[in-house]
Structures are given as C-alpha cells and as structure tokens.
C-alpha cells in the first residue's frame, strides 16, 4: 500500500546483511598471510620497531577488542589509513568514486538505449534481420572477455584510426571507449532478458484480452507487453549491478580510468590491506544500496508487490 513503508522495511532488512559483510571482511583480513606490521615497517626494521607499529595498529589486542575497534571506526566512516598513500582510505575512495560513477552511468545508458529496443524487436520479429542481430549481440555480450574487447577497441580506434583516446580521463572523449566496452558486457544480458520477457509478456493472456478489444498492435505491444516486461527487465538491471561493478574493475584497468576499480587492482599489488578492505566494503555497501533502490523501483512498477509487503507488515 505504501511505498514509503516498503522503503523503510527494505532498509531495515539490509542491515543484517551489511553486518555480515563487515564480519566477513574482518575475518578475511585477519586470515591473510603476512604480517601487516612488518610490511609497514619494512624488511630492515628492527624487532622493536615492528613491535611498536603493532602496538599502534592495535594488533596485539585480543580479537574481539580488535573487532570492536574496527566496527566503531567503521561507524565513524573511518576505514583506516592507506599503507601506500598514508592518507585515510575513505579519502582515496571518495576521490575516485565520481569517475566510476560516471563510467557506470554512461555505460548503462548505452547498454539500455541500444539493448532494450533490440530486445523488443527481436521478440516481436524473431526471424527478421534485426532479430538475428540481437541474438548475435546478446551472445557476444555474454561471451566476450571485456579486457580483450577493450584492447581490441584501443587497437582499432586509438592505434589504427587514431580518433579516440585510449587512456586517462581528461576530456569527454576519453569516456567513449571505456563506456562502449562496459556497455557491450551489459548489453548482452539486457537484450536477452528483454527478448525473453517480451516474449513471455506477449504470450500472456491479458495480451489476448487487449487484442480482443481491438486495440492497435502498437498499443498492445507497448502498453500490455513492454510495461509488463519491464518487471523482469528492471530485475535484471538490478542483478547486473554486480557485473557493472566487476566489469568496471576490468575496464578501468584496461583504460587506466581513474576510478575505484583501478584503485582496487593497484592496492592488491601493493598489498595495501586497509585500502583493499575498505574498497571491498565500500563496493559491497553501494551494491546493497543500489539493490534496495531497484527493489523500490520494482514495487513502483508492479502494484502487486506493494500489497503483499504491506500485508506482511500487518501480519495478515
């Protein structure tokens, strides 16, 4: 009934998951081989120096105390300090975050603007030329290694044709290749799911009713087919957020796009554990938030969802 209540309840539901992630990350990092204190101190440092650093980092305290420290600092938004940069992790993340967001939005836009129409057409006219193109596109999208595609695009557009830049993020032109690369990955799924849900929607009984009313085919397809197909499509876009983030990591690496993905990869090489940990938690949290937004969108599109949620809350 109420979208508002639905939002609140979803947020509350997400909390235990978030807690789980934090615990998981905590465990994972403690499990890591290697002594962070020694890493920071350097191989030549004396035992006392390493010991002092250990004290500083609180690594001597019992595990549960470490966890409490960890947790409370997280609540404050303090994700620790980067070993390599010496600056707070959160700052490093925030500096790069806008770039990843830019890349994500532009890529998703490309993917949706091309993918959904292709999917619709291939559902309505599966044996036409466009239909075959869409099948091909969706197959390519889900089988293509993006890093390879990125490199191929660089070879074509930057090296051979010399019309698009291949690295960095200075000008608006710089976003084109990375976004196209990432979009191809996303397009694969979008075309496939749009096609499948359009087919299902068009075969549903209410479409027969719509036709029996004498509505024009265009109205039937858009109003009764697409509108209903949007439900699984939005779902898939939500599920794709994972591929989006994962793909961003790879794409940013190929194109040296200064986003969080690139930061993560670099930090793994430098064994910058606080940074690695911080980024992963950050990623995961964003992911959860985005999923909540998708759920809310979902409830907006499908009126039935609102009803059941409300009833659950009333314990009917």
């Amino acid at each position: 009934m109420s979208l508002y209540r639905y939002i609140i309840s979803r947020l509350i539901q997400a909390l235990p998951t978030l807690l789980g992630i934090i615990i998981l990350m905590f465990i994972l990092v403690r499990v890591l081989p290697g002594d962070p204190a020694r890493l920071i101190a350097g191989l030549e440092a004396s035992e006392e120096d390493v010991e002092r650093i250990r004290e500083l980092l609180g690594l001597n305290k019992p595990l549960y105390l470490q966890f409490i420290d960890y947790f409370t600092s997280l609540l404050r938004g303090d994700l620790g300090k980067s070993i390599k940069f010496g600056t707070p992790v959160i700052n490093e993340i925030m500096a790069r975050f806008p770039y990843t967001v830019q890349l994500a939005i532009v890529s998703e836009l490309f993917a949706v603007l091309i993918g959904i129409p292709l999917g619709i057409i291939s559902a309505i006219k599966p044996y036409s030329k466009t239909g075959y193109i869409s099948t091909v596109v969706s197959l390519i999208g889900s089988s293509m290694p993006i890093y390879w595609l990125g490199l191929m695009l660089i070879a074509l557009f930057s090296v051979q044709l010399k019309i698009l830049p291949s690295h960095g993020a200075e000008t608006p032109k710089h976003i084109i290749l990375p976004a196209l690369t990432l979009a191809t990955l996303l397009m694969g799924n979008i075309v496939r799911i749009t096609k499948a849900s359009m087919i299902e929607a068009m075969e549903s009984n209410h479409v027969i009713t719509a036709r029996s009313k004498g509505l024009s085919e265009r109205v039937v397809i858009l109003r009764h087919g697409l509108r209903n197909a949007m439900i699984p499509i939005v779902t898939i876009m939500g599920i794709q957020l994972g591929s989006l983030l994962g793909g961003a990591i790879l794409t940013e690496t190929v194109f040296a796009w200064p986003g969080i993905g690139l930061l993560l990869v670099d930090s793994i090489f430098y064994r910058d554990y606080p940074l690695i940990q911080g980024i992963i938690i950050f990623f995961a949290t964003i992911f959860i938030l985005l999923n909540i937004i998708v759920d809310i969108l979902y409830a907006y599109i499908d009126p039935r969802i609102r009803e059941t949620l409300w009833m659950k809350e009333q314990r009917l």
Binding site: T17, S143, P145, Y147, W148, L151, V159, G242, I249
Partner: protein, 302 residues
Amino acid sequence: MDERTKVIIERLQEARKTQMLLMWARFKANIGALIGLILLSGIILMAILEPILPLEDPLAFNLGKSLEPPSLSCLFGRDEIGRDILSRVVNGAKYSLGIAFLSVVLGSSIGLVLGLISGYYGGWIDNIIQRVTDVLLSFPTLLLSIALVSVLGVGLTNIILSVGISTIPVYIRLTRSLVLQVKSEEYVTAAQVIGKSSPYIIIRHILPNVLSPVIVQSTYYMGLTILIAAGLGFLGLGVQPPTPEWGAMIGAGRTYIFSSPHVVTFPGLFIFITALSFNLIGDGLRDALDPRVRVLIKKVKI
C-alpha cells in the same frame, strides 16, 4: 486392468519416448547449439591432442625474435620474449578448460547440497544458509573471487577454489527456489505420508526435478568462469607466469597493444570462442528442456 487404463498407460509411455526424441530434435535443430558443440569439441580436442602436436616449447624464449608478427612459419607470432604464441595458446587450453570445469563442479555440488538442505528442511538451518548467501551475493562474482584470491593467494589451485566458491551462492538460491516449488507437489507429500525418510525423498523425488535447470545453469557458468578466471589472470591474480594461461597472456601483453596487437589478439580470441560455445550450448539445452511445444512453420503470412 481395463481397456481404458491400458490405453492411457500406453499413451503415457509413448509420450515419454516422444518427449525424449523431441528434446534431442529440438537441440539438434538449434543451429547455435550445434555450432557451440563443434567449437567446444574443437577446443577440447586441441587440449587433449596437445602433447602429440608438433609445437614449439611454450616456455622457450628467444629474445632475438621478440614481438615477431604472425607469419606463415609462426602463425600467431611471438610475444615480448620471443615465445611462440600458437603453442602457448594451444597449451593454455587445458588450464582454462580445467579451471572452468573444476570450479563449476566444486561450486555446483556444494551449492546443490546446501540448496537442497536449505529448501527442504527450512527452519533455522534455512535461515542461516540464506543469511550467509545474502552476504555472499552482495558481492559481484568477480569481486568475490578477487576477495578470495587476496586471502588464499594466487596460483592454479587457489583460482579454482576462489572461482568455484564464488559460484556457490547462485547455485544455492537456484536450487532452493526449485526445491520449494517441488516440495509442494503431491508426489512429495505422498512419499512423506508413506513414511519415507527425508534423505530418500530428497534424492529420489526432489533431486531429479531440480537437475535440469541446474545443468543449464552450470553450462552458462562454465562460460562465465572461463571469463572470470581469465580476468583474474589478466589482473595478474591468477595462474602465474610463465604458465601460458590465456588471461595472463593478455595481461602481460597489454602494454604492447600499440606496437604488436597480435600478442593479445589470439589468446583473447580463444577465450571468446570457448565462452561463446558454452553459451550456445547452454541456450540449446535450455530450449530443448523447455516443455513448451515447438513450431513447425516459422514464417506464415496470413
């Protein structure tokens, strides 16, 4: 048994046979699936025959011939330290195929078992498993593999473990939702009423119905795991040099994209072909297993 029942049983048996034949016919008719099968067989053959093929040593380097472009004598060219890319690609096949296969087997078996337990027994065990799955699912698969690799370290076994484990949550979800559907069917209730033990019911009645979607999912996952494993290799987090893993070859060769694109083109091409073939086969399987009736005439003008 009277005439009518006999006729009905005969019809059912015929229907079963026809169903099997139909499924195979549908699969065969799907050109994509056939192409996928052919491609995949080609790659598998390549991996199997590799020891007896007349190839150069994939590890032998020759700095004098660094970055040699493809030619008739050296079909795929040479990489930055002069190694023959063709032989490296052929050699790399077994790694990618092996990783894909083993990680999917790992992930699907654990995921299947957990999903069956979670779905069938419900209650607190279901709750715990679902909560943990939620947490794992909140990481995109690649990210999860990266996280696992940063804990376990790099190397072949660790990749298989990391990629395999990162596929578990989806299997759990899939299996569980299927189990929930099947659980409410009448033959399950009938078996419970008779007093069959739970493990028996799970194995005998629920598992067979859960298998087909899981198999289709696994086929798709094999394509995906190849991409992820190669992705990890690309990032330097996978199989370590000098082992000729396709992803690692791309990662190492990417700095040479401007001068010698052939170094990354061929390994990537093979990753693409392999993943593609799995996807095609997956599509074919999914269509073949679909109980909905197929159409004889494709284009009819009214």
